[in-house]
């Protein structure tokens, strides 16, 4: 199969899956079978592109759509997009297995609608990952927003509706008012001959225009601002409210979409735009992006502080996600090759760890119907697998050996050092170091009590009357798999670092 066809199939196949899922809605086993087969197929399609990308070959494809004449909907596979597509399509597999157990175990309604929305989200995630130009990226970004709204409002309660409004409101307002504005502005500059194109190119679009004075540094800074806040999915404060709101969704949604596909789409877009639209070198020269280091660092600390005081387990995880996403943004904002690599590695590391944590939270909810941290006393004895996996995930968030989170944190520290060596302002690097140190403490501060309660506190007396064991097998299987991956990539960091190096290579 030609690589072009593979790219188009990776985007198109999930949509076929959606149609089949809707058609087979009356036979749940068949329907869920389609989900598994589709997820496996999409992952193998994406993975089959990996050798070509690592070898540096260009894989391009174009969709014969005429949305706006002269603005193609096109794909080009490059290392960074590959990383995001791999992560999203890989983790969809355990999530599907997990979701069957969760949805059936909790007797959720409208399961067909639920499972039909997932493949659309995946298709748009792959579309974002492989987008060749900023228009294509915007297009799939919006499809991802719309396809996940029915999942957030799944329960249909007034609480869910309110959250759905916040979710759609924040994500759409930022993307339309800021991102689309920036996309169109860049397009107009291209039409006026100031910029060479609207595609993602090595080194960015602005280098020559800035040097020639056709684009002023202030204008570049404004566009940069529009773009960074236009990507609301990265949950950079103060545009983060949608993420805790989205926690009202069933846990497989929180685990996969709001720890992996959607939020990683956000930070992925931020990194991609920094690297391929603005250009690392150009940004460093213009000095217009320094604020991002401080804002993302502030987000890391503020979100961690808020997480400390959340008793609802999923809310605590959500704020942890906000903080961890900003690690990626801060890394990218440091604008050095190794820092870009750190951002890439952290996208992977955080995805693996956080999906495990959410799986564990959902598993506790299914087996014990508990949602609050304060109810978790002694639960580790009844659900040893779940809580062991939770512990592994938590360690990865804190960033200590022997889990993958350590690899990304280490790389990030290397990036900070490199930034200082490359003649950074010193203030930024010092700030970044302080943030990393403080947030590690804070992360430990909000995860350690959960682990302590689970394993070292006796169960509360009333729990004695509600005996329960582990969650359904499919759920435990899924969370052990992802926990295993968290460990695996610590002992086999080459896999991550090779990908990271490929991204770094293409970025500079």
């Amino acid at each position: 199969m030609s690589p072009e066809l593979t790219v188009l199939l990776a985007v198109g196949l999930p949509l076929v899956g959606t149609l089949l899922i809707v058609a087979l809605g009356r036979w749940p086993n068949l329907r869920d079978g389609v989900t598994v087969v589709t997820s496996l197929a999409v992952f193998s399609l994406v993975a089959s592109l990996l050798p070509a990308v690592l070898a540096g070959r260009v894989v391009e494809a174009q969709l014969g759509l005429n949305l706006i004449p002269g603005v193609p909907v096109a794909f080009r596979v490059e290392p960074l997009g590959m990383v995001y597509a791999l992560v999203a399509s890989l983790l969809w597999i355990p999530n599907s297995v997990y979701a069957f157990g969760y949805m059936r175990g909790n007797h959720e309604k409208h399961q067909t609608r639920f499972f039909a929305c997932f493949p659309v989200a995946i298709a748009s995630a792959v579309g974002i990952a492989f987008a060749e130009n900023i228009f294509t990226m915007f297009l799939f970004y919006e499809v991802l927003t719309f396809s996940t709204v029915p999942l957030v409002t799944h329960k249909g309660s007034s609480d869910a509706m309110r959250s759905g409004r916040v979710y759609l409101g924040v994500l759409l307002t930022t993307s339309v008012c800021l991102q689309l504005f920036a996309v169109l502005w860049i397009y107009v500059l291209y039409r006026q001959g100031v910029l060479p194109g609207i595609g993602f190119v090595r080194g960015g679009l602005f280098g020559n225009a800035l040097a020639a004075g056709a684009v002023s540094a202030q204008m570049l800074g404004l566009l940069f601002f529009l773009y960074i806040y236009g990507i609301g999915k990265s949950a950079l404060m103060p545009m983060h409210k949608w993420l805790p709101a989205a926690m009202v969704a069933p846990t497989p949604v929180s685990a996969f979409l709001h720890a992996v596909a959607v939020v990683k789409a956000g930070v992925f877009c931020v990194v991609k735009v920094i690297v391929y639209v603005f250009g690392v070198e150009t940004l460093r020269l213009s000095g217009q992006s320094a604020w991002l280091v401080y804002v993302s660092g502030g987000t890391i600390l503020a979100a961690s502080l808020i997480a400390l005081f959340q008793d609802n387990l999923k809310k605590r995880l959500a704020y942890s996600t906000i903080s961890q996403l900003s690690y990626v943004i801060m890394a990218a904002a440091l604008l050095t090759p190794v820092a870009i690599m750190a951002a890439t590695v952290h996208i992977i590391a955080h995805a693996l760890g956080k999906i495990t944590l959410f799986f564990a939270a959902g598993s506790v909810y299914t087996a014990a119907h508990k949602t609050q941290v304060s109810q978790l006393d002694g639960i580790g004895r009844r659900m040893p697998w779940t809580m062991a996996a939770f512990t592994i995930g938590a360690l990865s968030m804190i960033g200590v050996p022997p889990v993958v989170g350590f690899i990304s944190k280490w790389t990030l520290l290397r990036g900070v050092v490199e930034s200082a060596q490359l003649g950074g302002t010193r203030a930024e690097e010092l700030f970044a170091l302080c943030v990393i140190a403080l947030s590690t403490l804070l992360n430990a501060g909000y995860f350690a009590p959960i682990i302590y309660r689970a394993f070292f506190r006796p169960p509360s007396p009333e729990d004695e009357h509600h005996p329960h064991g582990e969650a359904p097998v499919s759920m435990v299987f899924a969370l052990c798999t992802t926990a295993g991956l968290v460990l695996l990539f610590f002992v086999w960091p080459r896999a991550l670092l090779t990908l990271g190096a490929a991204v770094m290579e293409a970025a500079t």
Partner: protein
């Protein structure tokens, strides 16, 4: 055949005039509908043929002399890419809504009045098509009055269901007459200084007068400015441009369902056409925009229309009124495109005339279906209809997405061009307002969609089922067209580009 081809421009106006008279005389029973359907179908075919001719085959203009009197002495019908596009829009909406009205008018208009309804219906189209095709300023006025008088009648016919239709019609009658008088006074001023009533001839003679303004002895300066001002006010009333829109919400709300759909799709659009014609082909942009700077005033009105119209729409509890206010906002988009005075802006205006006719037509027709089944169109009547009338609600939702400007609907295409044109003129704030308008549209469309899909049917409400096919098919037709032209904008872009470049005198 050749004879018909030769007289095609005249037939577009004369045919519905003759059949309208026949309907009034002979159209008892169901015959009125059949005659109207035949007439609008024939007119649609004729306009499409003309459109294909001027856009794709050339020459770009087709001139038809009434009674073979040469212009500027006789009345000439001149077809160019701009009015061919608008005529095709009017004819398309006219045909599809006629198809729909056969069933929808039954409960609203008593059978003994049906033939008059159909006669006036066709006269309304005569006026609208005539305004669009004529090249003569006075003929324009006559046809404007024909369309307005028939519109007052059509709106008043809604009194069977709601007596407020009568006051709405009177309100519109008073303001509409004032508007038409303003137009007439303006034309009289121009006639005074040029001695001509032919658009092209006035334009040529004005050029000579403008030439004197650069010298020491400028002539007719104040007369021309006053004439232009009168014409613009008159047309703005017809167009329902803020702040002259006050007649429009009640008129749309209390008119019979089919009439609302027809007016929303055609009447204001023809007003917009008139404004483009006067500014670009008669007065010239050098005078109107460069010398008088009326583009600033027009753009300011347009932006206020977008904001005020959309904010008012959000407050409404009657879905029809909500759509009416939304139209006030959407007219603002068209007016902004006119004010932008560049290719992209005119393209946006022309495309939006077409797109908005499709989306608003579909939405008013969907509300007509709701009215037919539930007896009301307040938001509580919409509650829970998503399951009872799935296709009607789907059409409404697609139309709503078009209003918001979601990618893959036609509304996105026009917003893209509009923001592009604003940015090309470095109007950053107006570009932002356009995007903010999308978010406001999201709020009011969201209110309806939430009621439909997440609301519960009110207690003791009678059982409802899907609308009859004869109403459903036309509704779905327009909704599908809105999707089609959103996914493939090749045709609309080509036609609008031809129109814009023709008006601006840029080589195609």
């Amino acid at each position: 055949m050749e004879l018909i081809q030769l007289h095609l421009p005249a037939l577009i106006v004369v045919l519905p005039l003759v059949t309208g008279l026949l309907t009034a005389l002979l159209g008892r029973g169901g015959r009125g509908w059949w005659i109207s359907l035949g007439a609008t179908g024939a007119v649609l075919a004729a306009t499409l043929q003309l459109l294909a001719q001027v856009v794709y085959q050339g020459p770009q203009t087709v001139t038809y002399l009434m009674g073979n009197w040469p212009m500027p002495y006789g009345i000439g019908y001149v077809v160019d890419p701009l009015n061919a596009a608008v005529m095709a829009t009017v004819a398309l909406i006219g045909f599809v809504v006629t198809l729909y009205a056969g069933r929808s008018m039954a409960p609203e208009i008593s059978p003994d009045r049906a033939r008059y309804f159909w006669a006036v219906w066709q006269f309304c189209l005569v006026g609208l098509l005539g305004i669009t095709i004529t090249g003569d300023a006075f003929n324009f006025y006559v046809l404007l009055e024909i369309s307005s008088l028939s519109t007052y009648t059509l709106i008043a016919m809604g009194h069977g269901r709601d007596r407020r239709a009568l006051t709405a019609a009177i309100h519109y009658l008073v303001l509409g007459t004032i508007g038409a008088c303003c137009y007439l006074v303006g034309i009289a001023y121009l006639y005074m200084v040029t001695g001509s009533l032919n658009f092209a001839d006035i334009h040529a003679r004005l050029a000579d007068i403008y030439a004197t303004w650069a010298t020491d002895a400028p002539v007719y300066k104040k007369t021309i400015i006053a004439g232009f001002a009168f014409i613009m006010v008159g047309l703005s009333l017809k167009l329902a441009l803020f702040p002259l829109h006050v007649w429009q919400p009640n008129a749309y709300t209390y008119a019979p369902a089919a009439v609302s759909a027809l007016l929303a799709g055609t009447a204001t659009k023809v007003g917009a056409y008139g404004m483009i014609r006067i500014v670009y082909s008669v007065m010239g942009t050098d005078f109107a925009f460069t010398f008088l700077r009326s583009d600033i005033l027009l753009a300011a009105c347009a932006l206020m229309a977008i904001l005020v119209g959309s904010l008012q729409a959000i407050k409404q509890t009657n879905a029809k009124k909500l759509l009416a206010y939304s139209s006030v906002g959407q007219i603002g988009y068209i007016a902004l495109g006119i004010a932008a005075n560049n290719v992209a802006g005119l393209q946006a205006a022309v495309i939006h005339i077409f797109n908005h006719a499709l989306t608003k037509g579909a939405m008013f027709m969907a509300l007509g279906c709701v009215l037919y089944r539930t007896g009301g169109v307040r938001l509580e009547h919409l509650r829970g209809l998503g399951r009872k009338m799935p296709l009607t609600c789907a059409a409404f939702l697609v139309g709503g997405m078009g209003l918001i400007g979601v990618p893959l609907t036609s509304g996105f295409v026009s917003k893209w061009y509009l923001v592009q044109s604003a940015l090309e003129r470095q109007w950053l704030a107006p570009a932002g307002v356009v995007l903010v308008g999308s978010i406001l549209a999201l709020v009011y469309v969201g209110r309806c969609a939430e009621a439909m899909y997440f609301g519960q049917r009110p207690e003791n409400s009678p059982e409802v089922r899907e609308a009859p096919l004869s109403m459903l098919v036309p509704t779905l037709l327009l909704a599908a067209a809105s999707l089609y032209f959103g996914i493939d904008s090749g045709t609309t872009s080509r036609v609008s580009e031809a129109a814009a470049k023709f008006l601006l005198g840029v080589a195609p």
